[in-house]
Structure formats: C-alpha cells, structure tokens
C-alpha cells in the first residue's frame, strides 16, 4: 500500500506541477526511490502486467488483439532495453509505468487502474496522454510508445503487413552472454 499511496501522490504532483519529464522523475525519486534502485532488476509482476497492457493497445495493428507470444516478446524486449539504460533513465521509465497504471484511478473518468479498464477506456486514456497540453505528458507517452514500437516492429511477425522484407544479410546473433567486440 505504501507504493500505491506514493504513486497516487506522484500522479497528483505530476498533473499539477510537472513541466518536464525530468521534474517528474525528480519528484518520483523523492517519493519512491525503489524503482531507481531496482533499475537493473527484472520486471516484477505488476510491471509486466502494465507493460503488456500498454503494448497491447499501442502496438495492435487492427481491432484484433496482438497474439500473446508477440506481447510476450515486446515485454521481454522492453525489460532488456531498460536493463541497458543508464540507471537514472531506467528508473524514470519504471516509475512511469506505475504512473500510467494509477493515473486513471485518480483522475477518472472511470476511476480504475489502467490494466482494469476496458479496452475502449484504455484507448481514451492513452489518447489523453498523447494529446495532453502538458509537454511532460506527451513526452512520457512518446517514450513509452517508442520503446513498445521498437519491440513490435523489430519482430518479423510485424513485417508482412507493412511490406518490409527484413535484413538483406541475415546473421546469427552472437550469444547474449558474449556481447559484442573482441580482443584483437
């Protein structure tokens, strides 16, 4: 409950005062330093649920939902991507996920967490973020959208629909535990 209260407080602060994403991050860090300190840890169940719900609405190409395996891949990508970001950036993003989740609960109109809204209400909520008069809210939405889109449109499952044929010189990726580069 402490985290919920802190997040609700942060949401109010955000809508009333934030003029930049930096300001948001600063206020969130004062209230809840946990996300920043967890920047390099795997997503918890709540973060997986929120990311999955956001990606499902942002990336869906039609009225049909994205397949579960595609959503799983997007969530995994977002998690991996955040793990490589500078700690401060990763912390901001993880806090943002929680803000996206609880903001509709506080401001309505349906007073439910984002993941508990029906799909139409989720879209309306995201539209309010995307077209908000506050730069910080639009920038926050753009950040979430960019990372989700990077996950979805890097997936070959998305390419046929847009007429893209992928790499001209497919390569077997290096194993993740080796990483790029070599001693020469």
């Amino acid at each position: 409950m402490t985290r919920v209260r802190a997040t609700l407080h942060a949401i109010r602060e955000f809508d009333l005062q934030a003029t930049s994403l930096g300001a948001l991050a600063g206020s969130l860090k004062l209230i809840d330093g946990r996300a920043t300190s967890r920047a390099f840890e795997p997503f918890d169940a709540l973060e997986v649920e929120i990311t999955r719900a956001l990606a499902a609405r942002i990336c869906r190409p039609s009225d049909d939902p994205l397949p579960d395996d595609a959503l799983d891949r997007i969530v995994r990508f977002v998690e991996d991507y955040l793990a490589r970001l500078p700690e401060a950036q990763a912390g901001i993003f993880r806090n943002l996920l929680v803000v996206f989740e609880y903001q509709p609960l506080v401001f309505g109109p349906k007073r439910r967490r984002f993941t508990r809204l029906d799909p139409g209400a989720q879209d309306e909520n995201l539209e309010r973020w995307a077209t908000a008069p506050q730069t910080a809210r639009v920038a926050a939405f753009n950040g979430v959208k960019t990372i989700c889109m990077l996950g979805w449109y890097s997936d070959p499952a998305s390419w046929d629909a847009i007429g893209y044929d992928g790499p001209s010189l497919p390569r077997t990726p290096r194993p993740d535990d080796l990483g790029p580069g070599a001693d020469l």
């Binding site: 930049s20 970001l85 401060a88 926050a140 753009n142 960019t146 007429g163 390569r171 580069g181």
Partner: protein
Amino acid sequence: MSDALFGKVIRGRTAAPTLRESADVVVIGTGAGGSMALYELARRGLRCIAIERGSMIGPAEMNQLEDRMIPHLFAESGARATVDRTVNILQGQGVGGSTLHNTNLCKRAPAPIIARWRDELGLALDGLEDDYAAVEAMLKVRTVPEDRVNANNHILARGIEALGYRGGRLSENRDDRCQQSGFCELGCAYNGKTNAFRMLIPPAVEAGATVLTDARVDRIEHDGAQATSVRGRLFDPTRNRPIGEFMISARAVVLAGSATGSAALHIASGLPDPHGRAGVGLHLHPGAAVLGLHDDPVEGWRGIPQSVECTEFLDFDPGAAHRVWIVSGFAHPAGAAALLPGFGPGHAALMRQYARASVAIAMVHDETEGRVSPGEGDNLRIRYAMNDDDRAQVALGLRETARLLLAGGARRVVVPLNPPIVVETERDIEQLTVDLIRPCSPTFTAVHPMSTMRMSASPEDGVVDESGRHHFIDNLWIADGSLLPTSIGGPPQVTIYTLGRRVGRAVADALTAGQPAALTAE
C-alpha cells in the same frame, strides 16, 4: 605503456577489475575527431591509448536488426534526449563513434561560416582547405553516383526539379564494397563505409595504438594547469554495468567524446573555465521528418538512404530569412513507427503504407543555444529551448518539404505534428504556420550536436584555440564537434575529421618538440 597492450584493442571486460597504465597521449572517444587524432599521433610514433565508451562492433556483428543494433550503436541505447524529451539526440558509441551508424554525408563547412569564424573569433584556420582535401582523399569522398540514387531520393530530386529549387546530389564516404543495402543507420554489414572504424582505427592500431573499449572516463585529473591522468570505469557490454575501473596517466589528453559528452566531462572534471564557456552554445541542427504517401511502391529502405539535398532555403548569414536544409531520409520499421503519429489501428494504417511512403527531413541551421551539463553517468543533462526564430524556420521547413514531396509525386503528405496534419493542396501547405510548432509537435531528432567548447583566439570567447589546445590546460586538446563555433547547417563529420587531423598533428608537434615540458608521464 606496457608492451602487453601495445597495438591492441582491449575490451573493458578483459582489463577488469583494475587497469593502471601510462601513455604519451590518452584519446577520449573514437569518433571522427578522436580516431583521426589517434591515427595522426600513432603514426608519429607516440604511444597512445584511446578510450571508447562503446564496444568494438565489426561488420560481422552488424545484423541489420533494430532491436539488436540500436542499443549497441547509440549513446544511452538511443534514448538520449533533451531533459524535456522534446528533442531526441542520436549519437554514436562503439569504436568509430557516430561514423558507425551515420549515413556518410560529406559536406565541408560553408565558406560564409568559416569567414564568420575568422571575423568574429579571430581564427586564422590557415591551410584548412588543404586539410579538407587530404581528409576527403583519405576517406574516398565522392559524389553519390547517379545510378545509386534510390527511389526515395528520386522523389525529392523530382520535387526540386519541378519547383526549380536549388539542390542536387550529395557526397558520400563509401566505396564499391557498399552493396546499397540501405542499413547504414544500423551499421554496415558489408563494411562499405570508408569511416573511422575501417580507415583510421586499423592503421592506428598497426602503428601501436591501444583502444580500450567499454570504458567510460569519469574524470580528467589536473592541477589547474596540466592534465595528469584520466580515471573511469570499465563496463560489461551485455548488461552495461560497471565491472572495474581504470586510471591512465599521460603526457597529453585529447578529449573527443562529442559535443555533449566532452563538455559534460569538462565540467564534471572541474577544468578551468573562468569565462563560463564549457557546455554552453549547444547547437543541435534539429530535424523534423515529413511523410509522402504514393500510389506506387517506393521501398525507401532499399539503397543509399540520403543522396539528394535541397538548399533553396539555406542561407548562412546570421539572422538569415532562410536557414533550412532539406534532405531525404528513411528509417527502418521501428524507427519509422516511433516518428509516425498516433497509436493502435490508426498508426498501423499509416505503417501499412510504409512501402509506398517517401520521407524527407527539414533540418534547421539553428541559432538557439542550448546547454550541456553532467548528469548521472551516461545520462547527460541537455537543455535546449528552441527560440521563436528557429520555430519559424521549422514551419518554413515543413511547408517546403511538403511542397517538394507533392511536387515529387506524393498523393498526399502527412506532417507529424500533434495532432498530425494531412496536406494535399497549396492551401493546406500554407496552413503550416509557426503557431503549430510547439514542444513535441513535431518530435525533433538531432544527429549533429555542435559548439559546446568552441575554438577562439581569445580565452574570453571560447574554450580552446584553433589548434584545439585548451586555453588554460596546456596539455589538453579537444577534437570533436564541440569545437565548431556555430552550427554549420549541414552534416559535420568531414569538418570533425578535418579538425581531428589538425589537432592530432598539433599534439604530435607539441610532444615531439618537447613541448609542453616536464609533463607528468609516469
């Protein structure tokens, strides 16, 4: 320097947990400026260690996938931006810096800009033209051949011709290894770029230079008059976490970590700056993309991404009425998806036209001056509030880019403002006015940050002299886009390579002539 490191590329993981070394010169950053300086120094027989924040990523590892390559090739995994997140700033990392992912455009700084630097800052810049020519020969710079202009660029060229605008083909640094795959921004799997990675690093290492990768310099140690060493951390590139530390003492330091990174490091190190010149004056050359929709396939991801420019609205006098450079551009699907407006099915409908879309970008030769300061680690604090004159230039750029795409054959044009505007007629174009240009409308992308530690004859006007030597730290030089006193209104890489050559030669001359004397090599 120990013989074990001589002439090698060493990963941070190999050097961890602790590396203590000494060298004649430490070069911080291996982009265009740092690599060129390193090359010049190594061939003069000086023992050099270059420190690179990113990894050594060769063509065999360029797999043309955005989710794999972007986090490795771009600073902050591609997430670098101004603090208000209104301008995305794409800067390279990895051995070769931004030359790994850039689209190989080669333009000299315009003569009126050079004249302004001479007049206003007392820079002589003798021999600059000869240095440009030498660099261009080394990098095999050529005009993009006509038969390598792709469909997307032909659309812009048709627009230029139809409207009678000034413009033409661009120059590039590629050679015939280039297979026109179009994946330049994700690194070249064919090694067709005649860039720092291919043309400068191998001969520098052959001459004895050492490159330490996956390493970040946190501080340049100094005594107020001399730099003594650099300190930093070593990283595991797979998860980007620190795994060790290093300290390298040197007779001289060349700072070439980009117009953002170098300025932040200068400030974080507490280097002398009595006139407050470090980190200010940032120009971003911000760009906004416009999308043309066509009846026939364009498949703009195939072929050389950028080969045609429109310079009709690009003048270089201060306060000029026209300061917009229009150039073709294209992104692979994820990059394109991030720039297109909206989300869900509406966004996907636009994406389904990806193969029949053309893209051109309006970049502003900006007079806005931003500021860079250190943040937490790689996460720099970059402030940039676009002024009204530059906003007007953005509006001009969007109008003219839309007009060019329509004249080039687009059925309609989407201008990704918030909300987006669809343009089909001249009347629609005229509605693209400056009042529509607001933060996040459009989303800006900047790939040419410049000017944060500019050259000047007087210490009051800049951070370094025209050789790149620091005004107050005798054995510190700067060799990156920080040096450019103003925006140059175009791609800066050839100018940065050229200044890197001049800096490298100046450092070598100083060290081999015994100046500065009594430096602090261990």
